[in-house]
């Protein structure tokens, strides 16, 4: 049996079928979460972004124009939410409003339970945190989501040339960090 397409599910949801949204979310929630997690480097912040993206999707799905793929639309929302969140975090880091309990939550709470998996993610974060946000984003979308530059350009609104340059600098820094000479 052929699976129902994203477009059909969106249409059903817009006709009032709530379970269509659940189905749609099941397809993408893991991708949203893992992209956010790789961008932010911890579960706490990734969870915040994922929930925010779900809320935006729920509220804005009626504005979806069936021109682009739903996949890139979801990533565009995730991209915007992550960037806004990072901006807020940067602001918070300058102001004494980030409570200790929030910091503890950021480091302690995790849905990944396996120690080895946690260590892998920490190692990845150690390497990626050196990258500027734009470079990190294009690197993640290319390596982990296996998106083309054209698709990434659609998500980020940047030119393909700029994205290639970002990716070049990202892998240059990463290989330096990983001691490849």
């Amino acid at each position: 049996m052929q699976a129902v397409s994203d477009y059909d599910l969106i249409k059903k949801f817009l006709e009032g079928n709530e379970s269509a949204f659940n189905e749609l979310l099941k397809r993408y929630q893991s991708k949203i979460y893992w992209h956010a997690r790789r961008m932010l480097g911890n579960h706490f912040d990734a969870d915040e972004i994922t929930q925010q993206v779900i809320i935006v999707l729920y509220k804005k799905l009626k504005t979806f124009e069936f021109k682009s793929s739903f996949y890139t639309w979801v990533f565009r929302i995730t991209h915007n939410q992550a960037l806004n969140y990072i901006k807020k975090m940067k602001l918070k880091s300058f102001l004494p409003i980030d409570s200790d309990s929030a910091k503890n939550l950021r480091t302690n709470e995790d849905v990944v339970k396996n120690t080895e998996d946690k260590e892998s993610l920490e190692r990845l974060n150690e390497i990626l945190k050196e990258l500027p946000v734009k470079q990190r984003e294009v690197f993640l979308l290319r390596r982990f989501e296996e998106l083309s530059y054209e698709e990434i350009a659609e998500i980020t609104g940047k030119s393909v040339g700029a994205l290639k340059a970002n990716y070049f600098h990202a892998i240059k820094k990463i290989t330096e960090k990983m001691n490849v000479e």
């Binding site: 893991s30 729920y58 892998i171």
Partner: protein, 203 residues
Amino acid sequence: MSSKKEIILKYLSGTLTREEEKAFLNLMEKDGELKALYEQITAKLNALDLLGKEKPVDGNYFPNLLPRAKQKLETAGRSKAKFKLSPSFAFALFSILSLLFFSSLFNSSFQSKIYVEKIPASDGLTPAQAEMVNFYLENQLYSIAPIDSLYNREINLGISGANSSDLLDYYETALLNDNDLFNIIDDNEYNSIYTNLKKLKLF
């Protein structure tokens, strides 16, 4: 960074032209060192992919995401609703704000009136200037007269010009407000202020 590494990274990032790509692949077949470095770099990047691969998570996490997001949405909606003004409260607030606005307008007109009336309108003015000042006075057009906007700045300049430096200091350090200032300065100082205003061609 070595030139070999740079060309590998350019190849991997897709910044080489088609011709350059072909040349690079040909070169790699001949240059063992280049090939070894290429393999080392791709192996490191592949290892990084493994580090960031999706991991198994707590079984309740994803099924609970949507209910949690919906709850968050409802909570946000409720807190928005909390701040919604009831019509009667909005009306009361509007009335108070209107009252405050009109009283401030009256005060400002009143102050302008004092200021304008204390200036000897006919003294040393050209007929056109006198006519303008009289027009404002007679028609009580204090609010549209070019007095209010100039009031604070020009009164300062006027006092400076009249060498009333003590008064100016008090005024600038906010020990005196505009009304106090008017009550303190005498007619001669008003004349000085007025002279300075004339110099500034405000009248």
